[in-house]
């Protein structure tokens, strides 16, 4: 691909020619980080290195600059030290992988020895409850669901109260996919957030699930979802595909929202903690063992 060839070219000792700068910019754009960020990066590299640095110098500076775009926020999922249960809301636009991520996170937390309950808070989409039920049974986790069309905030509230009664550590809350332009659905999300906060649990995470194939609309998604639900972190799904997920870097650098987890497939264990160094390496096509 273009990334690998970029870096193999940058391995040579020859100075970088003007065309190489164009290709570098195009490579960055191809990752979906957007023309603005890509342009800024190229300008900054030229400022640091002059117009014709050695390939080696460019390579090092590029990696360092990309890595500096990430924020310092904690990448570990946060849990409450005192309240029980900790509540994790999973939100995002349609079809990004929210429900699948819930299944994967449930499995991860169970393996860590935490007791988990799932709230089937998507009461809208056809067979959403059924889907979440399959994931729950795969992981042996209890799921609480409402009738189709039921108020999602109540389903989530009831699940949290039930989890508290039986002493679960964590409640993972599925929500229906919603485009950030749908005002009524974003109001519904605010209500979910509010009602969950009033429950006897503590909302410790609001995870925004972003599909790695997403282009520049990801920035709007982050902005609006963050405004409505105080997002605490990003889950970047479908990174097992050919898309690089560069918009997640743009989101992290613009809104300071840490990418916490990445989805790498459709199976229970296809979830990994986010590693900025490995992400940058993949973005620019460096060979890596990670």
């Amino acid at each position: 691909g273009p990334f690998a060839s970029l870096f193999s070219r940058l391995r040579s000792d020859a100075g970088v020619d003007p065309e190489e700068w164009t290709r570098l910019e195009e490579t960055l754009i191809l990752s979906d980080m957007g023309p603005t960020l890509a342009g800024e990066i190229v300008t900054e590299l030229k400022r640091q290195l002059g117009k014709s640095p050695s390939a080696e110098a460019l390579r090092g500076a590029l990696v360092a600059l990309l890595e500096s775009k990430f924020c310092e926020g904690p990448r570990q999922l946060q849990f409450s030290p005192n309240a029980k249960p900790s509540v994790v809301l999973v939100v995002g636009v349609n079809g990004t992988g929210k429900t699948t991520t819930i299944g994967k996170v449930a499995s991860l937390l169970m393996r860590e020895g935490r007791s988990v309950m799932i709230a089937a808070g998507d009461t809208f989409r056809a067979a959403a409850t059924e889907q979440v039920g399959v994931w729950a049974s795969l992981t042996g986790v209890e799921v609480v669901s409402g009738q189709p069309g039921a108020d999602p905030a109540s389903v989530i509230f009831d699940t949290i109260e039930h989890a508290r009664a039986v002493g679960s550590d964590v409640v993972l809350c599925d929500t229906a996919g919603r485009l950030q332009t749908k005002t009524n659905l974003m109001e519904e999300l605010k209500k979910i957030r509010r009602v969950a906060a009033k429950s006897s649990g503590e909302v410790t995470e609001v995870l925004l699930v972003i599909d790695a194939t997403t282009g520049q609309n990801g920035l709007r998604q982050a902005e609006v979802f963050h405004g409505a639900a105080e997002v605490t972190g990003i889950v970047l799904t479908k990174l097992d595909g050919s898309a690089k997920g560069g918009v997640a870097l743009a989101i992290e650098s613009e809104f300071g929202l840490p990418i916490k987890l990445v989805g790498l497939g459709e199976g229970l264990n296809d979830l990994a903690p986010f590693d900025p160094k490995a992400f940058v390496a993949a973005l620019v096509g460096e060979e890596t063992d990670v």
Binding site: P35, N94, A126, A127, Q180, G215, N217, R220, S242
Partner: protein
């Protein structure tokens, strides 16, 4: 969040107002803004390069016209070029001379295939056809149930059985024939373009069913990867057309241009919501406006 192309061009070109000769720098600046607008709309960079060349000449022409609003003239010229790329005609399904017409839907995970299958079924039923849905996604949890629920809402029967995707599809077509249904719509599992095993599977479904029409379902929010996806699915399935989904959001939808340019197949339908009625023919002119920054383009053009 993004300034529209019109606004940016007005800024960039305000200097040339009243000039009798354009400098290369004026032209480059305008072309740069056009490029940027297309990239912010997620048009693939390779496609942007191709389109910029094509658009370039028209844009220069517009800039040299004795207009007081060179920016608007350029937007209008670019808009026309985009419509040309997207294609002028609305798509019509060509039904097989011997029914049933078999229609296969494929695409990435979560792009909207199952929903589109039911929407298409409803549309065809309302046009007096007797469609039949086949649930050939046995991978995703709850996929069959999802199609059954949506099929019931659409008033269209759904065939399913717990065998293999190829078998379900084959039997589904046979069953449709037996029941004298005239269109079969096969829903398939989501798959990545680089997943060889699953790409083999969908091409086997295609071979086994001899699907007359193969539709790629693609999410309007997709970024630069749209071309990789479209090319890969086209290589395996020889796509007939594309369905663009989730156009009810605010994604500019540059994928429409990318896909059209790369696979050269028409965009047949636009999916514009989660309800089964939210499905309409694709209008290239509206899409061109959207890619360039929505309704304000039309008003700009009216003023131009």
């Amino acid at each position: 969040m993004f300034e529209t192309l019109g606004e940016r061009l007005e800024g960039a070109l305000s200097r040339i107002r009243g000039k009798t000769r354009l400098t290369q720098a004026d032209v480059d600046e305008a072309l740069g803004e056009i490029r940027r607008a297309l990239l912010e709309a997620d048009v693939n960079i390779g496609v942007v390069n191709l389109i910029s060349e094509r658009v370039g000449a028209a844009a220069v022409g517009a800039m040299t016209s004795p207009s007081l609003t060179p920016g608007q003239q350029v937007v209008k010229a670019v808009h026309n070029e985009l419509i040309d790329v997207l294609g002028q005609e609305t798509y019509r399904i060509r039904f097989a001379s011997t029914p049933p017409t078999v229609l296969l839907l494929a695409g990435l995970q979560g792009s909207g295939k199952t929903t589109a299958a039911a929407k298409l079924a409803l549309l065809l039923r309302r046009q007096g056809r007797s469609p039949y849905l086949v649930a050939a996604d046995l991978a995703r949890p709850g996929a069959v149930r999802q199609l059954e629920i949506l099929g019931a809402q659409a008033g269209v029967p759904v065939f399913s059985e717990p065998s293999t995707p190829v078998e379900v599809a084959t039997k589904g077509v046979a069953e449709a024939r037996r029941l004298a249904r005239d269109v079969v719509i096969i829903d398939t599992a989501g798959r990545l373009a680089i997943d060889d095993a699953l790409m083999d599977e969908v091409s086997q479904i295609q071979k086994a069913t001899q699907a007359h029409l193969r539709f790629l379902v693609i999410d309007a929010m997709i970024g630069q990867d749209a071309v990789v996806t479209a090319r890969a699915f086209d290589e395996r399935l020889e796509l007939s057309a594309v369905i663009l989904t989730k156009l009810d959001g605010d994604a500019r939808g540059g994928a429409a241009l990318s896909v059209k340019e790369v696979v050269g197949k028409p965009i047949a339908f636009a999916s514009v919501g989660e309800k089964l009625e939210d499905f309409e023919p694709f209008y290239p002119d509206r899409m061109a406006s959207r890619i360039l920054g929505m309704g304000d383009v039309l008003s700009l053009i009216e003023r131009a």
